[in-house]
Amino acid sequence: MSAIVTTLEQRIGRGATTQEFFVNMGPQHPSTHGVLRLVLKLEGETVKDVIPVLGYVHRGVEKMGEHLSYRQFVHLTDRLDYLSALANNWAVAKAVEKAAGIETNERIETIRTLVAELQRIASHQLWWGVFGMDLGAFTPFLYGFRDRERITDILEETIGARLTMNYIQPGGVMFDLHPDFQRKVKEFIAYFRPKLEEYETLLSRNIIAQERMRGVGVLEAAQAVALGATGPVLRASGVAHDLRKSEPYGVYGKVEFDVPVGARGDCWDRYWVRIEEIRQSLRIIEQLIENIPEGKHLLVKPAVRTKVPEGITYSQVETARGVFGVLLVSDGKDVPYRIHVRTPNFNNLWAITRIAPGWRVADLVTMISSLDIVVPDIDR
């Protein structure tokens, strides 16, 4: 006697097989964070292989750099990783200052450190919001953007731009701090500390979010290093490599902060490391904001065409996503002979080809988001 009620398995038919197929994820997919295309080799829902296809926003920044003065090149760097614009500016300024022997003062370095840390917080806030949305939670997105707005306002007052900020130049910063800067930063810290606890309650302690992050997309420490991963991606795998600690620049050598390090290298560790980094950045700002040294904010003529002596200089800074390096090759002129930018995202991206196989498509979205990719920085 046949059953009246059938099961789904009977409806599909026993022995239904799956086959491998290729699916394009992107270039216009919301969770690829910009125009990144991933070609996925799938077997059912399971990811077999990921092939990133780049170049949709390649602008030839390095070629343009060969025709621009050093100060002009600063203006291109904020179009790379637009969430770490100030750190990128700084990397160029640092390279030119090192190569040409330009001095800075304590005030300049303090201002640079302050604005770079503010932007690191803003970047992590945006990441946190978008990460929540990638997991299917809409509220974090609103919270993240609401609080990021405060930092954007503070920086806008001093710098004049909200996103593509050009502020740090060789020999100083372009404008002095706005008179309200100190007061507003202090207000922001008082406002944001409790909000960060809210973030934790909303997403970190959410069981669904935890289940989707823990154990997903494990990147081993040795693998992360060999893949050239830096920043929170590397630190989540247990390697405490942070340029702010290992080769202090700015005034990082004078402030106390910890380098959060993960244990397993899964999505949860990458998440946790970034949340913890927000706390450390707040700590750094608190130590600096009370006593900003007096002095000039710019020690060269504003539009000077700096000549850099012949040679190669490589300078790096720690952005919100990892090591941003500038390799500057000069033949003694006021434009670089060759300028190469080593961007953190280009190197971090490839971890996805190692950690994604074997997971479901939905987990792939979590993993991409946990790598915190900014595509213009990959494509340059």
């Binding site: 780049l54 170049g55 390649h58 030839g60 390095e62 070629k63 025709h67 090192k98 190569a99 040795a222 290093v225 060999a226 893949l227 050239g228 390697v239 490599h241 290992s246 002596p309 012949e310 040679g311 190669i312 200089t313 490589y314 300078s315 790096q316 090591v323 390096g325 390799l327 090759v329 002979y337 060759r338 190469h340 080593r342 280009f346 190197n347 490839w350 190692r354 494509d379 340059r380």
Partner: protein, 154 residues
Amino acid sequence: METHELISAVQALEPAAVPREKVDRAAVVAPVERFLELMARLRDEPDLRFDMLCTHTAIDWIAEARLELVYCLYSTVHRHYLVVSASVPREAAVMPSMQALWPIAEWQEREVYDLFGVRYTGHPDLRRILLDDDWQGFPLRKDYRDDFMLEGPK
């Protein structure tokens, strides 16, 4: 390790390596013939342990008709840097791939191939990475021209 110690350590491994002048950190120029062997030892020697390939790029020295391939190495164990470079002729730019030593080289080399036209032997997937597959020429070479380029003021 200090700069001079690093350079002598490299020279102990490869006598033909010479220090590269005018670089802000330890830098050597090594011959192309035994380059892969040298890099493998730089990665594995316990005193050196260059486990990270920070970046790899090229410089087009057009006046000397050569491309200088630059490898910036870092050791997360000893926290020291080393810049290793090698020169290949512009017209026959061939280099062994470092992909087996540092997997990130696979993509960094694709970029150098894309923009400079260096061919890497032993590379599993040498395709253009940033430009279209049918792009003509290698834009970061100094003599590159195309219809869309503007001549800058002289």
